[in-house]
Subunit: 320 residues, 2 copies
């Protein structure tokens, strides 16, 4: 049996909140120059009864924020995921969590900031149509990367992966494959982290704003998981105020899913599934006819096998 020295367990959290139509995450300053990072802290095997308890304690300490919903995402342990490891530091293994917070639950202290998560993964936001970045930068450079493969077989594998994840050819965009897309861009040297992790200079423009260590990979994991989860569990209501209009709910779903939804069908599906119930109140006007306010109907979880917001995607055309 080999030695097991030098392991340290970190707990990191992607804490998501909604701030008018933008999904935001909580970031803290990091030792890396020019990059922020996710809040994280050490796991204390003496004091923490569970990993999740350690996470909650750490987030309170670091950001003064008490978490509501939290779920474990994945454990990241690749060598050199933290560049500091090269200079002799211990091997950090990080257990990543996804947490949801209601906007305004706690005010962050000045050192922290809520930032639009699409700043870091801009190609994931299709609400305004195909992001320009994809056609102007990503696709050409990915094609060059495919062509640069040494063998025909490897070329084909790269092309298949590119087409599948970025919806080239006749494939359709799958908004859940966030991690697959990030990992492809990482391998193809299109994000600043690939060069940084190899200690090499960056070639060409990098896509999106980098984060410390492997935190962008953790963010990609969280985004994919949350996009999948809102479809079969009512987690979106963890991000909503207690009462909301149907359009607010739709905008929230669109923000997370990164695409526009079909208004009428969205309302019908939400009502049909019994996810919400009217409060009887009417919203203050917001530019048009006043709307009825709804609240989450807790009963659904007992009735429906997979209660979540279905996402009737909107194909062509403008908003609605």
């Amino acid at each position: 049996m080999r030695s097991v020295s030098g392991v340290v367990i970190e707990l990191s959290a992607v804490i998501v909140a909604l701030s008018d139509d933008a999904p935001t995450i909580l970031l803290v300053p990091s030792e890396d120059v020019g990059a922020q990072g996710l809040p994280f802290g050490p796991f204390d095997p003496v004091g923490d009864r569970t990993l999740e308890e350690g996470l909650r304690r750490g987030v309170v300490q670091q950001a003064g924020l008490t978490l509501g919903y939290a779920e474990q995402l994945y454990t990241f342990g690749d060598r050199f995921r933290d560049p500091q490891e090269r200079s002799g530091g211990p091997r950090p293994v990080s257990v990543g969590y996804l947490a949801l917070a209601r906007q305004g639950d706690d005010a962050p202290s000045p050192r922290e900031s809520w930032t639009d998560w699409y700043r870091f993964l801009p190609w994931e936001d299709w609400r305004g149509g195909t992001p320009g970045l994809i056609d102007s930068v990503i696709v050409p450079r990915l094609e060059a990367w495919c062509a640069a493969a040494t063998s025909k077989a490897e070329q084909q594998r790269r092309r298949d992966r590119t087409h599948l994840t970025f919806a080239l050819g006749d494939a359709t965009w799958d908004n859940e494959r966030v991690l697959e897309r990030y990992e492809l861009l990482y391998e193809a040297q299109l994000v600043a982290e690939s060069a940084r992790d190899q200690g090499k200079p960056l070639l060409g423009v990098a896509t999106g704003t980098p984060l410390a260590k492997d935190h962008r990979r953790i963010l990609a994991t969280a985004m994919g998981r949350l996009r999948a989860k809102i479809k079969y569990r009512p987690v979106i209501f963890e991000l909503m105020p207690p009462a909301f209009t149907l359009l607010q709910l739709q905008r929230a779903a669109e923000a997370l899913a990164g695409g526009r939804l079909h208004k009428q069908n969205f309302r019908r599906l939400v009502a049909h599934e019994g996810l919400v119930e009217p409060t009887g109140q009417i919203s203050v006007q917001t530019g048009g006819r006043p709307a009825e306010l709804f609240r989450f109907r807790r009963g659904v979880v007992l009735e429906r096998p997979a209660p979540g917001v279905r996402l009737p995607v909107k194909r062509g055309g403008k908003s609605s």
Copy 2:
């Protein structure tokens, strides 16, 4: 910052194979008297480049088995998940993996054994109708547990959970909620592990065969994940021989899902999705008319957004 002493990372694997109509897992002897356990080994931060690499190395060392498909499940870190921790051992945190092996790929050495996974979670096998254990033991004792709650509110919560997970009332059985069911039985003291972990004697009959440490919880996580995954990723073919008849594929899906499927619709769905293609060969007779042999069609993953076997459940009646 508190101390981070005494953490050890273990890697454990639920390695699944199919042996005529029974899903089996690989087990090894354990220090616990009277219980087997999952194969596991230490993570070596010096030698292992990634967690998964450490897992593969460990499984080769311990069981002489080279893994094909492997995916990370969850990281288990609750205090006293290993009873040995009470006698002063270090705090073991375990990263659990799900791995799939083709039957007969490697012969296990005598110390290991492939065992039907339903031995440990017998209430999960509905292929022969509702398991007798549920009506005779589980439901009565869960009802007693609900009634034993101190407050009305807690009683209601317990009842809701019981109804939801075990499909009482008008709820339907959700074959993916394996972990939720195990955790409910654990809390209600219906599995041997609850008593063991508290150092108390077991009250009444325990349901299913126990495993070492928290390995039954890890198994429940793996079963739930695999049942979910076969529906949208073609992982089932990792468990099949290179060529198979449609009935063999159906039996495999039934074994994993723990329920009977509708024959005609299963065939249609599999064909319709383009998951398989004919090999042109005909199977040796197996009791009826010879059947065509099929193989997995790799192309699907590029065509369909979520290629997996849909599971047309069979409601009333007998087999087919």
